[in-house]
Amino acid sequence: MAILEAECLTKVYEEGGSRVEALRGISLDLEPGEIVLLEGPSGSGKTTLMSVAGCLLSPTSGRLSVEGRAVDFASAEDMVRVRRESIGFIFQSFNLFPALTVLENVLFALQVRGRRTPDYEREARMILEQIGLGHRLDFIPAKLSGGEKQRVAIARALSGGSRIVFADEPTANLDSHVGLEVLEIFRKLAKEEGRAVLVATHDSAVRKIADWVLKIRDGQLIEEGPPVTDPEKGHP
């Protein structure tokens, strides 16, 4: 059963008399343990699709259900609830809280998600240990490398038990070696922990871990299927 089901999502921006159709009836399913790659040129609607599917934006039309519950886009509270309970975000520019340490960044996310039990610090430490940042707990983001920042962002996205992870260009600001490490983390999240991961990227290396690829252009799904082998580079 899909953990996220989107059906005929449309999003129209109207401003100053101009009308832009950013999404034109896109449907998608995310299964637990699945990594879906979202590809498309700039302006194709990738970000809008992630924003709508991630309950950051309400669509103009269409339906979305997350973990079996239909999202009521008319209710800001319901969208907040879905984000808090089910979805974690990872952004290209990390968006960490610069005033907080690595541990505090994760702790704060847990707090916002309602985890204020005495065990929540242990939970945060455990997530950070798993992701290889146990030795950087008291560092502020400014003292971390790009890869470490992205790991903190991943740890924060995972905090609170989010079963769906949306990652936007997660390797764009990383060198290729560190990028591969981050992709390996994504693979583990999906295959070992059963989380669904939607990755929007131009990085072809992501194809190596993807189970399914969606290609969109001008707000429409133009192609989908399993990742195909790139004969020139010799990898899937």
Binding site: L57, G88, F91, A99, L100, E104, A109, Q111
Partner: protein, 375 residues
């Protein structure tokens, strides 16, 4: 618990310090201005409230304050003495007169004249001399505040008021008029005789009530017997004088404007800083929303920041005001920082800081967390 509001605030310590200083400056401005004002207005009652034996004051009709005395026949005091419930009533002369100084210059002096000083506990704060001696000749008590205007003087020296040479036989401390003119105490008849205008007249009648007397009934009877005079309780008379200076001279309006401007400066500084800070942290606030935080969570965060700035600014501003207090005293000004004033300013500071933060609330409520996708 991770307190993001404090962490954000202290992450840029210089900005926090500047913001808190802006609030502190406003708090200090308001405290000093209002404190000086209260001290100044206090002078208007400085020669009324300490005469505790005077339960009632009788003035000529429509007298506005003690310094602007009008005169009425001195023998009216006998009518007052015969009112049931009056234990004692005496005339009090108050008049502004010229005093001639040893260096050849002249200045002003507020002359107070009373017959039975010891019965009324006047003058108070006596540093040297015995008020009983005032009846013995052309003598006077002079407040040491006069040193600032007349130059140094000692007991045993002479000064000339109008054309009467008077020997200084006593010195008081801290008795002054609202107009800052030094105060001298003379025997009633000697003060009365200094000018022709006051011959046979008095400025006020002091009344001490008999134990158990019905004050209202006594006042009503005095009003009946002295239909062309006003009768006040001590506190009401003091308040009337203070109200005169506050409301009829523009002093109160001026003070209100200064307080308003002080508050405005503080609110503008804080609102601007909080707004700028909010704008600089838009992505962080967006992130709070993205991980499931509500506008309410962010409002709380901003409110905590506003309260922390308000408390820090208040404490710093209060310390500054207390540091200015001795400097004001050197300038012969009383800076009154009463617990009531401090409480009012504290509550106002917190409320105004919270109001200032509402401008940021509006911005935050419109933050679209989807902006985080933009790098």
């Amino acid at each position: 618990m991770v307190d993001l509001s404090m962490k954000m605030l202290l992450h840029d310590r210089l900005r926090f310090a500047l913001t808190a200083f802006g609030v502190a400056f406003s708090v200090m401005l308001v405290l000093v201005q209002v404190g000086l004002f209260e001290g100044l207005i206090g002078y208007a009652a400085d020669t009324i409230l300490p005469i505790r034996q005077a339960d009632l004051w009788i003035t000529s009709r429509n007298t506005q304050n003690i310094d602007f005395a009008n005169y009425f026949p001195q023998n009216l005091v006998n009518r007052v003495r015969s009112v049931p419930g009056v234990e004692r009533a005496d005339n009090l002369m108050v008049d502004f007169m010229p005093i001639h100084l040893p260096n050849g210059s002249s200045d002003g002096v507020m002359v107070y004249g009373l017959t039975h000083y010891w019965k009324w506990g006047v003058p108070w704060n006596v540093v040297k001399g015995n008020p009983l001696d005032l009846r013995g000749g052309p003598y006077m008590f002079l407040d040491d505040f006069a040193t600032h205007r007349y130059g140094p003087f000692q007991v045993g020296e002479y000064r000339e008021i109008v054309n009467q040479r008077l020997k200084i036989i006593g010195i008081m401390h801290g008795i002054r008029s609202f107009t800052t003119i030094p105060v001298a105490f003379l025997d009633f008849y000697r003060a009365q005789a200094l000018t022709d205008i006051t011959f046979g007249k008095t400025a006020y009648i002091l009344v001490h009530l008999a134990p158990g007397a019905d004050r209202e009934a006594v006042m009503a009877e005095i009003r009946r017997r002295l239909p062309y005079n006003d009768v006040f309780t001590r506190k009401a008379w003091a308040k009337k004088g203070q109200d005169y200076w506050v409301f009829k001279t523009g002093l109160g309006f001026n003070m209100g404007m200064i307080v308003f401007l002080g508050c405005l400066v503080g609110v503008v500084i804080l609102a601007q800083t909080l707004y700028t800070t909010t704008m600089e942290h838009v992505r962080e606030f967006g992130m709070v929303k993205a991980i499931g935080g509500t506008n309410g969570d962010i409002y709380q965060l901003l409110m905590r920041q506003a309260v922390v700035i308000a408390v820090t600014g208040f404490l710093a501003g209060t310390i500054l005001a207390f540091l200015i207090k001795p400097l004001a005293r050197k300038g012969d000004l009383d800076l009154l920082l009463s617990p009531t004033l401090l409480s009012i300013v504290f509550v106002s500071t917190v409320v105004l800081c919270l109001l200032a933060s509402t401008i940021s609330f509006r911005k935050v409520s419109r933050i679209d967390p989807a902006l985080l996708f933009r790098s």
